[in-house]
């Protein structure tokens, strides 16, 4: 145990935690503490490149077509996007884990039905399904969270089911049943604790997919609507002025990269740690 806190051999985890902590600090501190307004701009300060000073305001990342400060918009946009992704991920995990445990525990036709739903869900490209649902329901933050959450459950269900099948065969589950515990109690008290670990790892590895998905929907203009910034719609808006202001596209992309690399490194590290524990 003593070695697990040392950085040597865990450079990946250190880098991952640094990237994630810095990103989270950025998206909380900038909206709280940065004085410039992310939604209202200074019309006399449009398309200023990074590190420009206008009047008494410094624009470290430059300004956009309406003279809004990119740092302020990027901070708020990261907060909005990451918030949407986290809530959606939570919906996916809870829904997928519940359905997966039910499928694995009861087996039979319940299992067959849920697993076919998983297959159906995975057969449609996520982005198409999300675009279809958002276009039917209308683009709003709530709809986006719900749709992202409801379309991401399948992979969690598949893994939870597999793990439940293993746990179900263990002796203490038989013992619990012999003691007359109800199925619900057994699932929550004895199956769930065995599943939480792997599901957390899976969640870390699934976050990048959600981050990029949310950004793609925003980029296509079907996510959260302007003037509210998100990582995706910042790039979408910057795209049309890429000739004169490439920083508007550059920085939101780097932010996405930091979040995704952080999650991927952390997830890979958690997987390796779990594997080395087993062996």
């Amino acid at each position: 145990m003593t070695g697990s806190l040392r950085i040597k051999g865990n450079e990946d985890a250190a880098l991952a935690i640094f990237l994630l902590a810095a990103s989270v600090a950025f998206c909380i501190l900038v909206p709280l503490a940065w004085p410039l307004d992310p939604l209202r701009g200074d019309i006399s300060a449009t398309f200023k490149p990074p590190m420009t000073v206008v009047g008494d305001a410094l624009h470290p990342l430059g300004t956009d077509q309406l003279g809004r400060d990119l740092l302020a918009r990027l901070g708020l946009g990261t907060l909005v996007s990451f918030g949407i992704v986290l809530i959606a991920a939570l919906i996916s995990v809870v829904l997928g884990t519940a359905l997966g445990m039910i499928a694995g525990y009861y087996g039979g036709w319940v299992d067959a039905l849920i697993m076919r739903l998983v297959d159906i869900q995975l057969a449609v490209p996520f982005i198409l399904l999300i675009l279809l649902l958002v276009s039917v329901l209308g683009p709003s933050m709530t709809n986006l969270v719900i749709v992202l959450g409801l379309t991401g459950w399948a992979i969690f269900a598949r893994v939870a089911r597999g793990r439940t099948l293993e746990v179900r065969e263990l002796e203490y589950i038989d013992a619990s049943r012999a003691m007359g515990l109800s199925d619900t109690t057994i699932i929550f008290r004895h199956v769930l604790p065995n599943i939480i670990g792997p599901q957390t790892v899976l969640l870390t590895l699934d976050l990048p997919r959600l981050i990029i998905l949310e950004a793609s929907v925003g980029f296509l203009g079907l996510g959260v609507q302007p003037p509210m910034p998100t990582l995706g719609n910042l790039i979408g808006e910057g795209r049309s002025v890429i000739l004169i202001a490439n920083w508007l596209v550059l920085y939101p992309g780097l932010m996405i990269g930091a979040l995704v690399i952080g999650c991927n490194l952390l997830g890979d590290w958690l997987v390796r740690r779990a594997e080395s524990k087993v062996s």
């Binding site: 057969a123 490209p125 793609s216 596209v249 992309g253």
Partner: protein, 306 residues
């Protein structure tokens, strides 16, 4: 015989999936209650909406409508585009070539390079070159396709002026979309081949081959690669859905006249019959590709009999 039964049951599962997807795309239009209001322009009069509702048969019981939708779909009729007044299938067929060209070219270069990089990284495990390859594959998965595409445009079109920034028709037009779309896939394949090959290289028969004095590359090419391919092939099918999703965004950026652009335009124009057609088609490609993966799987590993 067992292999055949496995494949037959997989085919049956594929049919069930297609049936489910058809229900999904059909009933999605009823989520807001009235598909007629959904499909008509927001400024339509009540009389126009009523006329449209009757013309589309939205007054019939919903099960009857779904039955009609299924029967038509099985005959290759997925309704008419509300915008172009042409069969949705025709629009799809016209755009198919462009998307296939983009997706297959991206798949081809990224698979070849991914296998090469993955094999090098596995053989030279923990060397500086392994580290470099790992960094490349981490970066390739880190950024969205559309951002990478925009960076390529800034570099190759705006600064260097080597390639056209959008359009369709020549090889030059294909380079950037194919690069952007393949990058994510390259990362995925490289990582998979590396980890799978490292595992295979630890097997007993590889040790035997080494003891016979074969060179490391000969062992990789002649003995290990075939077995290392099993997980790679299995995951190809899963990646296909994300490849199609990526193609959609790539086509928008480069004004590539494919199915992805058709889908996004249809969604923006509330042209739902076309959207339904695209989703059904994408699911069909996914199901067929995964079936082919199952066939390849059985062929690569005769021991696998589920």
């Amino acid at each position: 015989m067992k292999g055949l039964r496995f494949l037959l049951s997989r085919a049956a599962q594929g049919l069930i999936v297609m049936f489910g997807v058809s229900a999904l795309v059909f009933f999605a239009l009823f989520l807001t209650g009235d598909p007629a209001v959904l499909m008509m322009a927001p400024d339509s009069t009540a009389a126009e909406i009523d006329a449209f509702r009757e013309a589309m048969g939205f007054d019939d019981p919903i099960i009857v409508q779904y039955g009609r939708f299924l029967v038509d779909a099985l005959q290759g009729d997925l309704g008419s585009s509300l915008r172009y007044s042409r069969p949705a299938m025709d629009l799809l067929a016209e755009r198919l070539g462009a998307t296939a060209l983009l997706a297959l070219s991206a798949l081809l270069w990224s698979s070849l390079l991914g296998f090469l990089l993955g094999a090098i990284a596995a053989v030279r495990k923990n060397s500086p070159i392994d580290f470099a390859i790992r960094v490349i594959s981490l970066l390739g998965q880190a950024v969205p396709v559309f951002w990478l595409a925009l960076m390529l445009i800034i570099l190759f079109s705006l600064n260097l002026r080597w390639l056209p920034s959008s359009g369709y028709g020549s090889l030059g037009h294909l380079v950037m979309p194919s690069l952007a779309l393949g990058a994510y896939y390259l990362s995925a394949i490289t990582r998979l081949v590396r980890s799978s090959l490292i595992e295979t290289l630890g097997e007993n028969y590889v040790r035997t081959a080494r003891a016979k004095g074969l060179t490391e590359w000969r062992i990789v090419v002649r003995h290990a690669l075939r077995n290392a391919m099993i997980p790679v092939v299995t995951l190809q099918g899963m990646y296909l859905a994300s490849l199609m999703g990526g193609a959609l965004v790539t086509e928008i950026i480069f004004a590539w006249p494919g199915i992805g652009r058709l889908a996004v335009e249809a969604i923006q124009n509330r042209d739902f019959p076309v959207v339904q057609a695209v989703v059904l088609f994408a699911a069909l490609v996914f199901v067929v590709a995964n079936f082919l993966v199952d066939v390849a799987y059985t062929w690569l590993n005769p021991r696998i009999r589920l």
